[in-house]
Every structure is written in structure tokens, then in C-alpha cells.
């Protein structure tokens, strides 16, 4: 039997000061190469679940295992170098596109990874539907859709084992959203990238076997689609 890449056991989380937990006794197993889609209405804790996996929030109870190791014993920077999280509203530093893309390589946890050359970056910009963009232009002046694709590309450059994408299309027009979906599916299909994404849209991957969960009643339900 394949060992899970990620395993969540009995996870419970309540926001400070809140009377009800966001979820309790939540279990999930993710195998390498899977495409996990988590759906559910706003406020059910979909984003919180992703943040708990990369330790941007701490659970009150339960365990998260990555490659069989409790994530609390993995140095946080090393964990996040392996499990890359892209927030709903992508953030850029006030610097050119090239500097933003190479930002992960300035961190010690990624020091053993090789920073890509400009030719590689330009090739990837094309693949991410960002063909007209130069590495010298300001990243802050890009549109929301361009920033979202650039943020996903930046995460991929650090070669994570798993990607967590938080509502990656919520702020985008349908055309930009379609581009992001297409990128996610291609990454999963050709790069075998394990992807977990949350959304409250009707999107589901059509060209591959995605596993759809619904977050309701404070736990995850597997949904057949």
C-alpha cells in the first residue's frame, strides 16, 4: 500500500474567541500526484485547512503528517519549502518581476535549490500565459490575474512536493480563471504535482481524476461527481 504524502488525523480548529469550532475530527489522506479539490460555502474553513497544513495557523488538536512525519517536528521553513501555499490574494514585493520570481531562492531553506536562468523564466512565463511580460517590469503593476499566475509560477520554481492553492480564481475574470485552471491541470498531469485547492466555484477538473471533497458539518465528506 502506498504511504500517503499527507495525512490529517482528527484535526480540530477554533478561532480565538469563537464559540464554535471551524472543524473537528477532520481526517484526510492525500497520495502523491493526486489532485484534491475542496469545496464548500464561504466560512466553512476551507482556507483555514490549507493554512493549518503549512502551519500558518496552529490547530488545537489533531495531527498532520507529511511523508509520515508530524509536521510540528519539521522546521517550519523546510516544511513550507516542500509544501508551497499560494494565498487567495497573491502578494508581490515592490520589485521587478524577475526579483519576485527569484525571491524564494534568497531564503536559507531553498539555498540548495538552483535558481533558474532568465531563459528558463521567459519560457515559463510563456507557459503561464504571461508571454508579453519582461523580468524587468514592476510586479506590482500587473493585473490580479497576472499576479495570480506569477504567484503560482513562483511557487513552482522552488520545486515543492505539494502545492496548496487557496481560491486561486476567486478574484479573476472567467478568462483568467480558465488559464489558472489549465495551469493547475497541466502541472498535475505532466509534472505529477500533488495539488490541493479550495474553491466555492463549480469548477472540477475534467481532464483528470480529481478527488472532490465537500467541507460541511465541520468535517470533510468525500463527494462523488
Amino acid at each position: 500500500m502506498n504511504q500517503s504524502l499527507l495525512e490529517i488525523r482528527n484535526l480540530a480548529f477554533t478561532y480565538p474567541g469563537a464559540s464554535l469550532p471551524v472543524f473537528e475530527r477532520l481526517d484526510l489522506a492525500v497520495r502523491s500526484g493526486e489532485f484534491i479539490l475542496i469545496k464548500g460555502p464561504s466560512g466553512t474553513g476551507k482556507s483555514t485547512l490549507l493554512r493549518l497544513i503549512c502551519r500558518l495557523n496552529q490547530p488545537q488538536d489533531g495531527t498532520v503528517l507529511f511523508r509520515g512525519r508530524d509536521i510540528t517536528v519539521i522546521p517550519p521553513a523546510a516544511l513550507r519549502s516542500s509544501i508551497s501555499y499560494v494565498a487567495q490574494l497573491p502578494q508581490m514585493i515592490d520589485a521587478p518581476v524577475g526579483e519576485n520570481l527569484l525571491l524564494p531562492f534568497s531564503f536559507r531553506a531553498n539555498s540548495k535549490k538552483r535558481a533558474p536562468q532568465p531563459e528558463t523564466l521567459y519560457r515559463m512565463l510563456d507557459e503561464f500565459y504571461l508571454g508579453g511580460i519582461t523580468l524587468e517590469q514592476s510586479a506590482l503593476k500587473l493585473s490580479a490575474g497576472q499576479k495570480q499566475r506569477l504567484a503560482i509560477m513562483r511557487s513552482i520554481l522552488q520545486e515543492p512536493e505539494m502545492m496548496l492553492l487557496d481560491e486561486p480564481t476567486s478574484a479573476l475574470d472567467p478568462e483568467s480563471a480558465a488559464m489558472v485552471f489549465s495551469i493547475m491541470e497541466r502541472l498535475n498531469r505532466t509534472e505529477k504535482m500533488t495539488i490541493m485547492t479550495v474553491t466555492h466555484s463549480d469548477y472540477r477538473p475534467e481532464t483528470l481524476r480529481g478527488i472532490v471533497y465537500r467541507l460541511e458539518n465541520r468535517t470533510l465528506q468525500l463527494r462523488e461527481e
Binding site: 510540528t72 521553513a77 523546510a78 513550507r80 499560494v86 494565498a87 502578494q91 525571491l103
Partner: protein, 261 residues
């Protein structure tokens, strides 16, 4: 020539003219500062008189425990002023700030009083207390400014800090610019003071020495030591406090503990 002219009680009360002018301005322009000016004036009057009597007593007593106790009370007072200015509830910054202030200010006052001025004993109250007072007063403002900046930037830039964390940065790398901005914002007034001293203004201590009959060439030596001491102690204290408090802005998983506003 070296005799200092005393200020009589009547003349001292005449100085209240300045406060009356400030009060009148506040009333005329509806500044709403009347209460603060009145309380500030009364506190200045009361606190300095109290300090005067305490110093007279201490300078005459030559008592080490008493000197250290006065020094500690000054640091505690500075901490309570910082606490009043920095309204932060989520991060426990008070104890580490207080301990850092106590240790670094003591070391600075010891270095200046005991080594540079070479007073005997090293805690000679005439040198140790005023030196400590200047260090505490100057550095207190710097720490308050730096702490306010650290907390406000950490909140405002929380998403960027989290983006860097998510890309594999440790908490130091993720908050590097926030830390730098906080320390420099606290340091700038001290550095500006070095630029303007002797040109734009004559510092209080030097003015005091000259008024009391000290040779200006002696007074400037003291003032140079004081200016350097203030910049150095402010830098060291601010950096240590920011390093400790920044760590406390992050949890065990190096997640940001401060909520956005």
C-alpha cells in the same frame, strides 16, 4: 564669574507666563490641549522639585543601594511611559523590554560614569544618575517609536510576511524589512540630533553646564560623550528589544500571531 545666579520663587512663578501663553493659544484656536498643558505643567513642577530634593539627598548620602534603587525607579517609570504609548495586547513585550532596558542602560551608565569620566566610586551619584537619566529619557522615546512601528507594520504587511513564510522564509527572513524599518525609525531622532548639535541647538546638558559656570571647552567634551552615548545605547537597546519582541510576534510554527487590522 563662576557664580550661578539663583532663581527666586517669585521669578520661578513668573515662568508660568509661558504656560499661560500656551493655554491662551489652545483656547483661542480650540486646540483642546488645555487639560494636557495644565497637567504637564503641574507634573513638570512637582516631578522636578521632587527630583531636586531626591538628588540633593542622594548626592549627599553617597549610598550605592540608594543610587541603584533610584536608577531602577527611573527605568520602571520609562517602561510605564512606553506601555502607555504602545497599545499592544497580543504580544507580551513588556518584560523583555524592561529587562533589556535595565541591563543596557546600566552598562552604558557604568561605562560613561565609571570608565570615561572615571568617577570614584564608579557609581558616584553626581555622574551616574544624570548619565542614566539622559540615556533612559532618550532611548525610551526610541523604543516606543520602534515598538509602535514594529507592531503596526507587522499588521499592515502581514500578507507579505506570510507570502515570504509560505515560500520557505524563516521568521527572520520574512520580517527582515519590518525589523529594519522599526529600528531605523527609532534611531533617526538620535542621529538627527548629532547632525544638528552645536549648529541648530545647544543641548540641555551643555547649556546647563555653561549656565553653572563650566568652561565651554569642558562642557563640549561632556556633550560629545553624551551624544555618542545616546546614539550607541539607543541602537543597542532598540536592536535587542526588537529582536526579542519580533520573535514574540510569531508562534511555535513561525506563524504570524498578530491579526490584521
Amino acid at each position: 564669574m563662576n557664580r550661578i545666579i539663583d532663581i527666586s520663587t517669585g521669578k520661578l512663578l513668573l515662568a508660568f507666563v509661558f504656560i499661560i501663553v500656551a493655554q491662551a493659544s489652545s483656547i483661542f484656536y480650540h486646540l483642546g490641549l488645555g487639560r494636557d498643558i495644565a497637567i504637564g505643567a503641574l507634573r513638570t513642577f512637582a516631578q522636578l522639585f521632587l527630583m531636586g530634593y531626591v538628588l540633593t539627598f542622594i548626592l549627599g548620602s553617597e549610598n550605592l543601594p540608594l543610587t541603584i534603587a533610584i536608577f531602577a525607579i527611573m527605568v520602571i517609570s520609562a517602561m510605564s511611559i512606553i506601555k502607555g504609548r504602545v497599545k499592544e495586547k497580543q504580544v507580551a513585550y513588556i518584560l523583555p523590554t524592561f529587562l533589556t532596558m535595565l541591563v543596557t542602560y546600566f552598562a552604558t551608565a557604568f561605562f560613561v560614569s565609571g570608565i570615561i569620566v572615571d568617577s570614584t566610586p564608579w557609581w558616584e551619584p553626581r555622574y551616574f544618575i544624570p548619565t542614566g537619566g539622559m540615556v533612559i529619557g532618550n532611548s525610551m522615546s526610541a523604543i516606543a517609536i520602534a515598538l509602535e512601528r514594529l507592531f503596526s507594520e507587522m499588521r499592515q504587511r502581514r500578507e507579505v510576511v506570510e507570502m515570504k513564510l509560505a515560500l520557505g522564509a524563516d521568521f527572520r527572513e520574512a520580517s527582515d524589512d519590518v525589523f529594519r524599518n522599526a529600528v531605523t525609525s527609532g534611531m533617526i531622532p538620535s542621529i538627527n540630533a548629532m547632525m544638528g548639535v552645536g549648529l541648530v541647538f545647544i543641548p540641555g546638558m551643555m547649556s546647563g553646564q555653561i549656565l553653572s559656570g563650566t568652561d565651554p571647552l569642558v562642557a563640549i567634551r561632556y556633550q560629545i560623550v553624551v551624544m555618542f552615548m545616546l546614539v550607541g545605547s539607543t541602537a543597542v537597546t532598540s536592536i535587542i528589544v526588537m529582536l526579542i519582541v519580533r520573535k514574540r510576534c510569531f508562534g511555535s510554527g513561525e506563524e504570524v500571531l498578530l491579526s490584521s487590522r
